[in-house]
């Protein structure tokens, strides 16, 4: 994993942020989905996007990852412009993506899934082994099932695989889309732990979630979206799950 960055939030914001999204718009056919989203994530920070279904949270992640081409606006990563670059380049630059529904390769074994991220230029055998060991240490169930087809894993195990797979890229930031969706409630704690581990290792996380308590406890800052724009931006420790703002935008 990348060396632990200075995790003091103030310092992270002062320097140029690791990821900067500037006024992106996107369409799906004729539907205007993103109406000008701007946000920033500092190195090693955990930032969250909250909002109801359909406000454009997932689309924002996809736009960052190059899976959706913004019609307007720019995205900058690690000091360089990345708008319009193809997804496979972004992955190599250090952006990991864990989509909604996990989307692991069902017909590939666990180890083969991991290898899709592991087999890269310039990564020697030693480093690969170290990466694998680390991930097996943290997700022992994956080690057990390493030769099983991805499709035979349970929902929770698939989620772990999806995250582990992204970690194989040694990313500087992971885009995490609704990791607790479809998982049993007791897995939520495990997700919180995983986010904590990523943070300790200096990997930034941009988290999209519907689970408000998890989001507020795991992240440092939160953007609240509505109808394709950012409506509110605050430090997570200034918000509570029962705040009026949360009620207003989450409809809970």
């Amino acid at each position: 994993m990348s060396p632990a960055a200075d995790t003091a939030p103030a310092a992270a914001e002062a320097a140029e942020p690791l990821l900067e999204v500037d006024d992106i718009h996107s369409y799906y056919g004729k539907s205007h989905i993103l109406h000008g989203i701007s946000l920033a994530v500092g190195a090693g920070e955990v930032v969250a996007l909250l909002g109801r279904n359909g406000v454009g949270k997932s689309t924002t992640l996809k736009a960052i990852m190059g899976l959706v081409q913004p019609s307007r606006g720019r995205v900058r990563f690690a000091g360089g412009a990345i708008t319009g670059l193809p997804p496979h380049r972004l992955a190599r630059l250090g952006i990991g993506y864990v989509p909604e529904e996990r989307r692991i390769f069902r017909l590939l074994t666990v180890i083969e899934n991991l290898r899709t991220g592991l087999d890269r230029h310039g990564v020697g055998k030693e480093r690969k082994k170290a990466l694998l060991d680390k991930v097996y240490e943290f997700f022992p169930v994956l080690a057990e099932r390493r030769n099983q087809a991805g499709g035979t894993l349970s929902g929770g195990e698939q989620q772990m695989l999806a995250i582990a797979r992204a970690m194989m890229l040694e990313p500087r930031i992971i885009l995490l889309d609704e990791p607790t969706e479809g998982l049993m409630p007791r897995m939520v704690g495990q997700i919180r732990e995983i986010i904590g581990v990523l943070r300790r290792d200096g990997v930034a996380v941009l988290l999209v979630e519907q689970n408000v308590p998890l989001t507020l406890s795991a992240s440092e800052r939160v953007y609240i979206l509505e109808k394709g724009v950012v409506r509110h931006h605050a430090r997570s420790n200034e918000l509570h799950a029962d705040d009026g703002i949360i009620h207003q935008y989450m409809g809970i």
């Binding site: 990852m65 190059g66 899976l67 193809p86 997804p87 496979h88 992955a91 190599r92 993506y97 989509p99 989307r103 692991i104 390769f105 069902r106 017909l107 590939l108 083969e112 290898r115 899709t116 991220g117 087999d119 890269r120 797979r165 992204a166 890229l169």
Partner: protein
């Protein structure tokens, strides 16, 4: 019935020989379809041009094995060129446009061959002369050798896909192209490579099939239909399916030729297709899933 067992067994061997070559051609087509949803109408022409490259190489060197290698490489390159110029631009569009485009390409390639090589059929000499006694026949060794080589190539492909980084990349891209990209897999290169591999397999088949038949510009057209039938019956995108279907159809046709002429024996493949469409339209040997 009155058909001696020996004849049936000989036809079995014949069926397996043509079946293996058919499997080789069909594998390329199904591999391409599986990964990029492209039905390559020009596949038959790649087969035919491979045979012609074989003819030319044989004429220059007299060496069958060189001809095989030359055809494989040449058609792989041709495949890459075709993909980059005409199929990549069509990637995001309605998959039916690729049928049209590859159909157009097949017309161009077919007439090109007719123009360059003329209507007189050519021959590729057998790599190995000599026969062995199969019951009452002197059965040529080269047929068996050709079947073995086809099997070896298919086996090699399977190994390549199963192990090795590119194999994982190809299988991942086939299953979920978007996530493959998100994992840093260079999907554009993977697609080009797979098309080239599929083309190379067709080209190699052309050379392997050469000694069994006459090489002329309509070879591809004669075969493409059977290849399509094999791929549909086997399940589009399923490698194992096309191999099994190829063998099954070839064997059935070989047996049928005991009673009817070869021109009519093709009805067998049509019947198999109709039955498959009626009862198991996704393929007799259910596709392993995408």
């Amino acid at each position: 019935m009155g058909v001696p067992l020996q004849q049936v067994l000989i036809q079995t061997v014949n069926g397996i020989v043509t079946g293996m070559i058919l499997a080789l051609v069909a594998s390329g087509l199904t591999l391409i379809f599986g990964i990029m949803d492209v039905v390559n109408f020009a596949h038959g022409e790649l087969f035919m041009l491979g045979a012609y490259v074989g003819v030319l190489t044989m004429a220059a060197t007299g060496n069958f094995w060189l001809a095989l290698i030359a055809a494989t490489i040449a058609i792989a390159l041709l495949g890459a060129v075709i993909y980059l110029t005409t199929l990549r631009p069509l990637l995001g569009r309605d998959p039916l446009t690729t049928i049209l485009a590859t159909f157009g390409i097949s017309l161009v390639l077919q007439n090109y061959a007719l123009w360059q090589f003329g209507p007189v059929a050519r021959k590729i000499a057998e790599p190995i002369t000599g026969h062995f006694t199969l019951f009452y026949l002197q059965y040529p060794w080269y047929r068996v050798v050709i079947a073995l080589i086809s099997a070896a190539i298919i086996g090699g492909l399977w190994l390549f896909l199963k192990f090795g980084t590119w194999g994982i990349w190809i299988r991942a891209t086939t299953q979920d192209r978007v996530m493959a990209q998100a994992m840093g897999i260079p999907v554009p290169s993977v697609l080009t490579t797979v098309f080239a591999i599929g083309a190379a397999m067709a080209g190699a088949s052309g050379v392997l099939f050469g000694p069994l038949t006459a090489v002329d510009s309509s070879m591809g057209v004669d075969w493409i239909l059977k290849v399509f039938i094999v791929v549909v019956v086997g399940g589009m995108g399923s490698l194992a399916g096309s191999i099994a279907a190829a063998l099954m159809i070839s064997l059935l046709e070989a047996y049928a030729s005991l009673w009817v002429s070869p021109a009519q024996a093709v009805i067998v493949s049509f019947v198999v297709l109709i039955l498959t469409l009626l009862f198991r339209p996704t393929g007799l040997f259910a596709a392993t899933g995408r």
